[in-house]
Amino acid sequence: MEPLERVVKPKTKRAKRFLEKREPKLKENTKNAMLIKGGNANLTVTEVLKDIYAVKKPFAVLYKKKNITRPFEDQTSLEFFSKKSDCSLFLFGSHNKKRPNNLVIGRMFDYHVLDMIELGIEKFVSLKDLKNSKCPEGTKPMLIFAGDVFDVNEEYRRLKSLLIDFFRGPTVPSVRLAGLEYLLHFTALEGRIYMRSYKVLLKKSGCKIPRIELEEMGPSLDLVMRRTHLASDDLYKRSLKQPKALKPKKKKNISHDVFGTTYGRIHMQKQDLGKLQTRKMKGLKKRPAEKSAEDGRVSPKKSKPA
């Protein structure tokens, strides 16, 4: 259906740039997140959304108004929002008697819902409650997942992938070592997931690698997994597929050995060894007497003028 939308050609350069930013690319943009409040969102849930918005700025959009939708029943309004704001991650907060302090975290593929996991907030400590210095906005966080449940259980594995996708931030080629200040630590234990954010202090140690001291700051959540809506295996595999052009090109004819020596391989054509230019050995040079004898045999007609 995409060519039918592009039938209307953009009339300004700005519109053209806007459309180019949203079209599928080889190397994709950083994923944006949309934070939505449900029909009856209470104070806790609102505070959680505001804190996560602060963590994920500027790659997040916080919707101020309440939207009366149910993500697990009807996904069309979520998909509509995703298309309008070009966000592929979402966090939907709501509250009712059956599911108190509910958070639905999810992601989209091609503007359709891929995965959705519903989490219940048991305890929440906000950024405001911990009065200490915070790190600057837009810091790329370090992510640590502790617990074997994150690998054993399929739902937890998807949750881990979702959380990495959500909090990872832009992909950068290099990072300033002194600027690694923010840490998000997730521990999974007995059906609960503890999310803690710490400010990292690099202290002097005897050697190059600094000693780490942590100071708790930022939102900390105790979560319980409720319902899930995971994508089918083939859809998930399709979304993971990367185009071939992104694969790193293999350098041919170069090999390394155990000791670190690099070997190159050159392919030569067949050489006529008779015509090889070797060193001139004066002793092997043909003497004039031998030469004339040969000449005499080869061309008898030629005769030296007397």
């Binding site: 039938v7 592929s88 790329k140 290099s174 690694l180 140690s205 780490i212 942590l214």
Partner: protein, 324 residues
């Protein structure tokens, strides 16, 4: 000497003790994402307990894991950005953890008619200069826009025909033609992407005799031996001709028309002997292009009748306004 060495080693070990962490299972690292995965089961007993104790335990666990991650990050190749006094910057590798894409990878769009033609003829795009030499004005003028080379288009008012109307009409035609070609290219690209599926047989009712015959034939050929050993119904006609493969795989009988065979062989020898190539590439290309243009004209005729009303209405309104 040995004592000195031992003392030095002990000092080193002391220093390193502050940054070493003992773990049962090694952590998995993805430095491109600044990610560390700890597979060790956390101490359940402590974490089940009261809040402050739990927080302290979580913090200790986090500290250990971060220490390991930071140790790995510090091992990366680092350099000083911006000269000697700049900050220490480490080169991160590519992220290894596989995450799903946001949108499917872009599909290559099929080339437009002009692109195909240009590729056939070997035409390359040439960069145009922004200024052109104007002979009349004897100076460099822009290619288009205010005070362009080639004189003021409105100045040709001496001729009989209404120049303004002519220019407007030509521009309208050009724009319409361009728009039409663009839409046609889009439609072609869209069609190329989604292949039209074969019409299946209607379940009941509207099944024509030809349709049934066609479907029966297709079903017959869809066996492993391509329908050769399928039993036939008593009155079903025998149909070997399709197996002969159509026009190109028709072979003449061995001892048939001798004169025809002779003339064919002589023609073949003549073609082999002649220096001119049998297939004239330019002519073939032009013929193909003309054929495609004819097709396009037929399609255009159909499209005009579809868009005709809208197109004609627009043109009429435009003409009416300007002439009045």
């Amino acid at each position: 000497v040995e004592e000195v060495l031992a003392a030095a080693e002990e000092q080193d070990a002391e220093k390193r003790r502050s940054i070493t962490v003992e773990k049962e299972l090694e952590l998995e690292f993805d430095l491109g994402n600044l990610l560390a995965l700890d597979r060790n089961p956390p101490a359940a007993a402590g974490l089940r307990g009261a809040c402050p104790r739990r927080e302290a335990l979580l913090r200790a666990l986090a500290r250990d894991n971060t220490q390991l991650l930071v140790a790995r990050l510090w091992e990366l190749p680092a350099e000083r950005a911006g000269g000697a006094g700049g900050p220490l910057v480490a080169q991160l590798p590519e992220p290894t953890f596989r995450l799903p894409r946001e949108k499917p990878p872009p599909r290559p769009r099929p080339p437009t008619r002009w692109e195909q033609f240009a590729r056939l003829k070997g035409i390359h795009k040439r960069k145009k200069t922004s200024l052109v030499w104007d002979e009349q004005a004897k100076e460099w003028r822009r290619r288009w826009g205010y005070r362009r080379a080639g004189g003021d288009p409105a100045r040709a008012w001496l001729a009989e025909e209404d120049q303004f109307a002519r220019l407007r009409r030509e521009k309208r035609e050009r724009v319409a033609r361009n728009e039409f070609n663009r839409l046609r290219n889009l439609a072609r690209a869209h069609r190329a992407g989604t292949a039209v599926p074969a019409e299946p047989l209607h379940p009941t009712g509207h099944q024509s005799r030809e349709e049934l015959g066609h479907v029966a034939r297709v079903a017959r050929v869809s066996t492993a031996s391509l329908g050769r050993f399928q039993p036939r119904l008593p009155k079903e006609p025998v149909e070997p001709p399709s197996r002969s493969g159509g026009r190109k795989r028709r072979f003449d009988p061995l001892l048939g028309n001798l004169s025809a065979e002779r003339s064919r062989q002589l023609e073949l020898l003549r073609d082999m002997g002649s220096k001119k190539p049998v297939l004239d590439i330019t002519r073939a290309v032009n013929k193909q292009l003309r054929q495609e243009e004819a097709e396009a004209a037929a399609a255009k005729g159909k499209k005009q009748s579809k868009r005709g009303k809208r197109g004609r209405r627009q043109q009429r309104v435009g003409r009416g306004k300007k002439s009045g």
